[in-house]
Symmetry: D2
Subunit: 101 residues, 4 copies
């Protein structure tokens, strides 16, 4: 089962500068061989379910290892069985609708 | 690693009545032996990470098997290493603050 | 337009104990006359759109006034035009499906 | 109060093709003069609180007007009082950390 997921990781108890933690997670996801697109409020990922969730778990572990006592995460996730769809497909599909109007 | 999670599953392409799908997921979670608390916008879960995410994956599969071509899910999730905390602890902690004011 | 909303407020930069901030938000919501149901990962609210969002904005302001330099919030929100529905209706609808199986 | 927000709108009860609804919301946001960045799981917005939430409310209304009986939305939102920050700043901040490693 393929999944498209948006991951937003918020370390708690480490002050207000969170970008070192987000950068560490980006490296975890890249090392897992996942395609990612970073945006201002999270990261889009795509891949096979078990591979994706193993990487997400590793992100939690890494952020704890960096010293964060609490980690709060928001995942938005979609699966579909009617057809294959990638991160790029989803954006292009909306852009096509916008261009056609 | 223990996790407290809030799960909200939205089947897409099956009309407006989603409660049969939510009920099916509640059964999946109960069969997995997870403690759950249902609320109006999701379900609180607690358990060991791998057990929890295996059950969440099974929810996606079941909702697809029931006929939903797309499933959109939102997960809010917290882990903490500084101390153990349950779903009940979290609610009681806020209620204690409210009572004390 | 009526709205059912799930609000989760995470102050950033104030350490790991967040319940005083959640309790302060509960009081803001109660003073606004909104029906709320607290759970382990947020608070369910229902009310008229403008009244609800004025209260949510006030929560952000109060948490900043308490000293949090950053506030991260997750809102899940639903509106429907096909019929009126309350927080209680949503939970009962799922429970009815579970009981009937 | 300035806000950075990630908006994800899911119409329910209109089938599986949601891009026309997302495109309509993109137009609402552009007409409101908001800076937006579209990604595969939502749209980043930045602006003044009241302006942003007026546009978000208008998105819900437009999607209902297009025929969706239910609309489910996820908002992740951040405010900060310690310094001004834009959507671009947030991405650049992570990229700088990645480049430095």
């Amino acid at each position: 089962m393929n999944v498209i997921l948006d991951l937003c990781i918020v370390p708690i108890g480490v002050g207000v500068s969170l970008s070192p933690y987000v950068a560490a997670c980006e490296r975890v996801l890249a090392e897992a061989g996942l395609k990612t697109v970073l945006h201002a409020c999270g990261t889009n990922l795509e891949g096979e379910w078990d591979q994706v969730f193993a990487a997400v778990k590793r992100c939690h572990e890494v952020v704890h290892e960096m010293g964060a006592p609490r980690v709060s995460t928001i995942i938005k996730r979609g699966t579909r069985t009617d057809r294959a769809q990638t991160i790029d497909d989803k954006v292009k599909s909306v852009e096509a609708k916008l261009a056609g109007l």
